[in-house]
């Protein structure tokens, strides 16, 4: 099963029907614990190391367990850590607690107002039943290459708070996603929150994704953020997902748009830079060439959104 799509390989084993014996959709045995505090959580993580997995929304992890793609010894259910849920607006940033459900983010007027990129992206995240359980922090920590939220966080310049027994450290989103299902999280750490700068004056956000069916993981997606003032773009951040093992900040393409007025010519120039930024692989479902083509098409859509007439992304 191809790595770009969905549930495969969190533990690096071959997935799907080519598993040896091809057996099973019941989870393997594990021990379960539901800590009442972060301190207790860290205690468990310390005892079991990488044989323990944190369980938040479980929408990715439990599917992986059912498919026997993961077999942790201990499942640490952090859903009781109420402090980790919630959306807090301060003067310059919105802090989203890791345990905030997708549905809460989706319906939040604060998110819509201050982080419109997330508001645009949320309807693409799976389906309503999954959004009722899935969490913001879960999606970030799971780091599926085709997921929407990691790319949005990179585009928004989010900073993640990673907590452990020894304290909290901040890691910017751009440094957090290392590879397929691989992040900067250490085995003894938990993501507790993301601090995301509110959208600035005259800034626009844009989101586009291609999938065969509504709610599927993206085949290719693009989260965009830029200033659009006096007809010109600046501080352009184009972050692709579904074209590699982690979100890709398309630096060359973004740079070409700096200071430019959106036009077919500038879009074409940016598209020409994409091969510098993106290097997808062929896989069983799609060729690298078609992913590159779609990346180019999404660029068109996103730039269109940047320069659309009646945008309400202002403070």
């Amino acid at each position: 099963m191809r790595p770009e799509h969905g549930m495969s390989n969190p533990d690096g084993r071959d997935s799907g029907c080519d598993r040896d014996g091809g057996v099973g959709l019941k989870s393997p045995a594990f021990r379960y614990v539901k800590p009442a505090s972060l301190a207790e959580t860290f205690g468990v993580l310390k005892s079991f190391g990488d044989e323990a997995r944190l369980l938040a929304g479980g929408q990715s992890l439990l599917a992986a367990l059912n498919m026997r793609l993961a077999s942790p010894r201990v499942l640490v259910d952090i859903n009781d850590l109420a402090d980790l849920a919630g959306i807090r607006v301060s003067e310059n940033a919105v802090t989203i607690g890791a345990l905030t459900r997708h549905r809460t983010v989706e319906r939040s007027p604060d998110i819509r107002r201050y982080l419109p990129l997330l508001y645009q992206a949320m309807p693409y995240v799976a389906h309503p039943a999954v959004r009722n359980r899935g969490t913001f922090g879960g999606s970030i920590s799971f780091a599926d290459p085709a997921a929407e939220l990691p790319a949005c966080c990179v585009a928004l310049g989010a900073v993640f708070q990673l907590a452990s027994e020894t304290g909290v450290r901040s890691v910017p989103a751009r440094e957090f996603f290392k590879g397929m299902y691989e992040t900067a999280l250490r085995p003894d750490e938990a993501l507790v929150a993301a601090d995301i700068p509110v959208i600035g004056r005259n800034y626009r956000s844009a989101f586009a994704e291609l999938s065969l069916r509504h709610g599927d993981y993206a085949i290719v997606g693009l989260a965009g953020h830029a200033k659009y003032e006096d007809g010109a773009l600046s501080d352009v951040r184009l972050v692709y997902f579904g074209v590699g093992s982690a979100p890709v900040f398309a630096e060359a393409a973004s740079r070409i748009l700096e200071g430019k007025t959106p036009s077919p010519g500038t879009v074409l120039a940016a598209q020409r830079e994409l091969p510098r930024d993106l290097a997808p692989n062929d896989d069983a479902m799609y060729s690298a060439a078609v992913r590159m083509h779609w990346a180019g098409e999404l660029l068109v859509k996103v730039v269109e959104q940047f320069s659309a007439k009646d945008e309400g992304n202002r403070e």
């Binding site: 019941k26 379960y32 539901k34 599917a63 059912n66 259910d77 859903n79 389906h127 039943a129 359980r133």
Partner: protein, 166 residues
């Protein structure tokens, strides 16, 4: 409750309005718990990897996929299944619309389809056919091709004053 990691736990929850206490294997998902431990077989399993939606039930008032939830996670929670939601009558207009418009054939996806649709129908907002199609896009049906389901959900919304054009 001792907080050591365990393979088995005692849980207490409310299912369809009744208090339930059971000792359960921690690895068992909610749908297996409902079907095997409580004999509530109205919730079905079609894929067990969270795609088909046949296992949809309500947890604390929200629709969820039962195969992506451990039974032990529902300790202290309120679960509603098709059996309870039928007995209470809260789905009766939707069920009647489904029956009159033949919005089901083999019936395997139907309980989940009803529960998922109810979140939209009874949500109080105006609803178009497109909205319905998108909302149900996580519920697989192989028999109907979806149109009659959309018709039935839309008819119910209209009757409740929530229908919108298109």
């Amino acid at each position: 409750m001792s907080n050591e990691p365990n393979e088995w736990l005692d849980i207490n929850l409310t299912v369809n309005g009744k208090a339930v206490s059971r000792r359960v294997s921690c690895r068992k998902h909610l749908t297996d718990f409902l079907r095997e431990d409580l004999d509530l077989t109205g919730s079905h399993l079609g894929c067990e990897h969270g795609v088909c939606g046949a296992c949809t039930v309500k947890l604390d008032g929200n629709i969820v996929r039962g195969c992506l939830l451990l039974a032990v996670q529902c300790n202290g929670a309120r679960v509603e299944t098709i059996e309870g939601m039928s007995e209470s009558g809260e789905l009766s207009d939707l069920q009647q619309a489904f029956h009159e418009l033949n919005a089901f054939q083999c019936g395997f996806c139907t309980p989940a389809m009803l529960i998922t649709a109810s979140e939209l129908c009874y949500g109080g907002h105006a609803v178009t056919r497109d909205d319905i199609r998108k909302h149900l896009s996580g519920n697989y049906c192989r028999c109907t091709g979806y149109q009659a389901i959309v018709d039935a959900v839309h008819a119910t919304c209209i009757a409740r004053g929530q229908g919108a054009v298109k």
